[in-house]
């Protein structure tokens, strides 16, 4: 077990290295990050030369990668290409915002999905089951960005008809959100639509999974044994079936949570939320490799850590699993 974790972590370093080389090459080879400076007549050649010298833009890409690696390990991911602003403080800020959004949405989604999935499985082929199945199929087939836009369109139309602005459709806070309680009420108001969007995507997938997992357990031999020895139906479902059906769910949730911490790229873009996803998209638009690299390292590390957590948790919850 200990050996397993160590080996996985060592392997992760290789993965991170490969990923960073790949993405650094991609981003550095595309577009010219200096283009906005060159076009601006008020910026002197001297300034541009300074940027080039500071970021070693004249050197070949492997050399620049080496400079980046040095910055990343000794200087907290260094600074942005044009503004020379430190990257890490920005990254912490957007990470905090993304956490708020993602944790609320995921907790709600998991709770609802477990309830719906279990109930669907216990009443297989009932009206409830068919409705839940239809909606989760719909949720999986809908493009996330389109669903978000539809919510925005509805809000705008409600505003046109009634004059009421029921929900804000962009950004995380009002211009003047106040402080203390009123700040958090304002934040919650802004987060309603994004949370709904994130939830719908997750609920659909989790419900399908939970239902399948519960069905498998309910039809297994040991549940029949539990019934045969005369346990009450409630004890059979709650103690024997439900607890075991949750095990694969833990893995799935850990895996998708790791992935989603990199920012709900789509949701944050549509609602212009100052989170990890929008941070990445903005940096990509500016052809600035340095914030992108910092973002990638943090996101990939999250994915690796949560994958590891998923595997370890599975082994802990299901003693039949062996690590080789």
């Amino acid at each position: 077990m200990f050996q397993f974790v160590i080996r996985r972590l060592l392997y992760s370093i290789v993965v991170l290295f490969a990923a960073s080389v790949l993405v650094f090459t991609f981003v550095s080879k595309t577009g010219d990050p200096l283009a906005p400076l060159v076009l601006n007549p008020r910026i002197s050649q001297q300034t541009i030369d300074n940027v080039v010298a500071r970021k070693h833009l004249d050197d070949p890409i492997p050399v620049r990668y080496w400079y980046w690696l040095k910055d990343a390990t000794t200087n907290q991911f260094g600074t942005t290409l044009l503004g020379d602003e430190p990257i890490l403080p920005d990254l912490w800020r957007v990470m905090k915002n993304t956490m708020q959004l993602v944790i609320i949405a995921e907790l709600l989604a998991i709770t609802l999905a477990v309830f719906i999935g279990v109930y669907s499985a216990l009443r297989q082929y009932s009206a409830f089951d068919y409705t839940a199945t239809t909606f989760s199929f719909l949720g999986l087939a809908m493009p996330v960005f389109w669903f978000a836009l539809m919510l925005q369109v509805s809000v705008v139309y409600v505003y046109q008809w009634t004059g009421n602005n029921i929900f804000p459709i962009a950004s995380l806070s009002s211009v003047d959100p106040g402080s203390g309680i009123s700040f958090w009420i304002d934040r919650a108001h802004h987060l309603v639509l994004p949370v709904i969007v994130l939830m719908v995507a997750s609920i659909a997938a989790y419900t399908r999974f939970m239902r399948a997992s519960m069905l498998e357990v309910v039809n297994s031999d040991y549940v029949r044994t539990a019934r045969a020895k005369g346990l009450s139906e409630q004890k059979v479902t709650m103690k024997h079936a439900f607890r075991n059906a949750l095990i694969p769910m833990v893995t799935l949730v850990a895996l998708s949570f790791g992935a989603i911490l990199g920012g709900a790229v789509i949701t944050e873009t549509v609602f212009s939320l100052d989170g990890m996803g929008l941070y990445f998209i903005t940096a990509l638009g500016q052809n600035d490799p340095y914030p992108i690299m910092a973002w990638l390292m943090i996101t990939a590390t999250m994915i690796i850590v949560f994958n590891l957590i998923a595997d370890v948790a599975y082994g802990y919850l299901d003693p039949r699993v062996r690590y080789d």
């Binding site: 490969a18 990923a19 993405v23 960005f145 389109w146 069905l215 789509i266 990445f280």
Partner: protein, 351 residues
């Protein structure tokens, strides 16, 4: 040739499998004594292959059949886009703009603008029809390419095992640990927004921009399939019929293609439908963010983002393309569900 004996739970057949479990029925398998009794009693017994059973199971799944009908409809629309679309894709007609309000036409039967027009007076139905064409084309390209790569890699890794297996699986690990959308986006930026001229020795050809998006998608989507196929090969290569084929002197390639692969067709076909649906959704998302399919190519995702920039007041510009994407993805998912029921009888019906 040593034909694998029919084993419980694995769909297999010596005829070339058709997609969707539709294939010509085989000759009569050896009849059991029950059938002889039935014959004596005057009941006609029809020989059914695994494939005709699969077909029957598939057509019993009503949603899957509905999905198939919808998909065929959209495929026909895509193929005959030029003949069906009432107007051209980029046909500007400023008569469609209301002179007093300056707004585009809302959906109306007049002039067949059933999906309305955009702010340049272009017929939205026609734009969507051409968008469907691109989307389905890219999805099909991705499905074929990703399935081919995934099956090949999985088969080689699973059949040979050892160092080859280790190397290939570490590579799939690498791709699975990357944040998918981010890699897609950087790769899309890297490959550029124009058609590419590629010269390979004496060959020179053009890669259209949508195909580049397809290549990137395929590069990410083959991975899970490779792992599934590898798992199947790992267990199947230990079976007696493979041993028998080896003893009969069959080459590795023959064993892989003729003996093991037909037993994996069920899961592969099911997973291919998942890849297709994913490809449609991801392509739309990329186009929406602005790094997907570029004009002058039509794309449903691009139509949505253009509609959004009109400020949400022209609802039809956002609603219809998204509705079409949802319908297509839904149809493919239902087909996949039906195929799973049809081709994988061991799996409990969890519909």
């Amino acid at each position: 040739m040593t034909d694998p004996s029919p084993r419980h739970g694995v769909v297999q057949s010596s005829v070339t499998p058709g997609v969707g479990g539709v294939a010509a029925p085989e000759g009569a398998p050896p009849l059991a004594s029950e059938t002889e009794l039935a014959y004596e009693a005057g009941v006609e017994v029809k020989a059914r292959s695994q494939w005709s059973y699969a077909r029957i199971r598939f057509f019993r799944h009503k949603m899957a059949v509905a999905g198939l009908v919808v998909l065929i409809f959209f495929a026909l629309v895509a193929i005959f886009a030029k003949q069906i679309a009432p107007y051209g894709f980029d046909e500007i007609d400023l008569d469609n703009i209301d002179p007093t309000t300056g707004l585009a036409k809302a959906p109306t039967l007049e002039g067949w603008h059933i999906f309305g027009t955009d702010q340049l007076g272009r017929d939205y139905l026609s734009r969507i029809i051409y968008g469907i064409r691109t989307s389905l084309w890219v999805a099909m390209f991705v499905a074929i390419l990703a399935t081919a790569i995934g099956t090949a890699v999985g088969a080689v890794a699973g059949f040979y095992g050892g160092r080859v297996d280790n190397l290939l699986m570490r590579f799939t690990d690498l791709i699975l640990t990357l944040p998918g959308l981010a890699v897609l986006l950087t790769a899309a930026v890297y490959l550029g927004s124009n058609d590419s001229e590629v010269t390979l020795g004496p060959l020179a050809f053009t890669i259209p921009q949508p195909m580049k998006i397809g290549l990137i998608l395929a590069f990410l989507l083959w991975v899970t399939l490779a792992r599934i196929v590898r798992g199947l090969f790992l267990s199947l290569r230990e079976k007696e019929f493979v041993e028998a084929a080896k003893a009969a002197g069959a080459s590795d390639l023959r064993i892989i293609l003729r003996h093991i692969l037909p037993n994996c067709v069920g899961p592969i076909v099911v997973f291919t439908t998942l890849i297709t649906a994913a490809a449609i959704l991801i392509e739309a998302t990329l186009s929406f963010i602005g790094y997907g399919i570029q004009p002058p190519n039509a794309a449903l995702g691009k139509l949505i983002v253009d509609g959004q920039s009109e400020g949400f007041t022209l609802w039809w510009l956002v609603v219809f393309p998204g509705l079409i994407i949802t319908l297509i993805a839904l149809a493919i998912n239902f087909i996949g569900d039906g195929l799973r029921d049809a081709l994988d009888p061991t799996q409990r019906r969890s519909r």
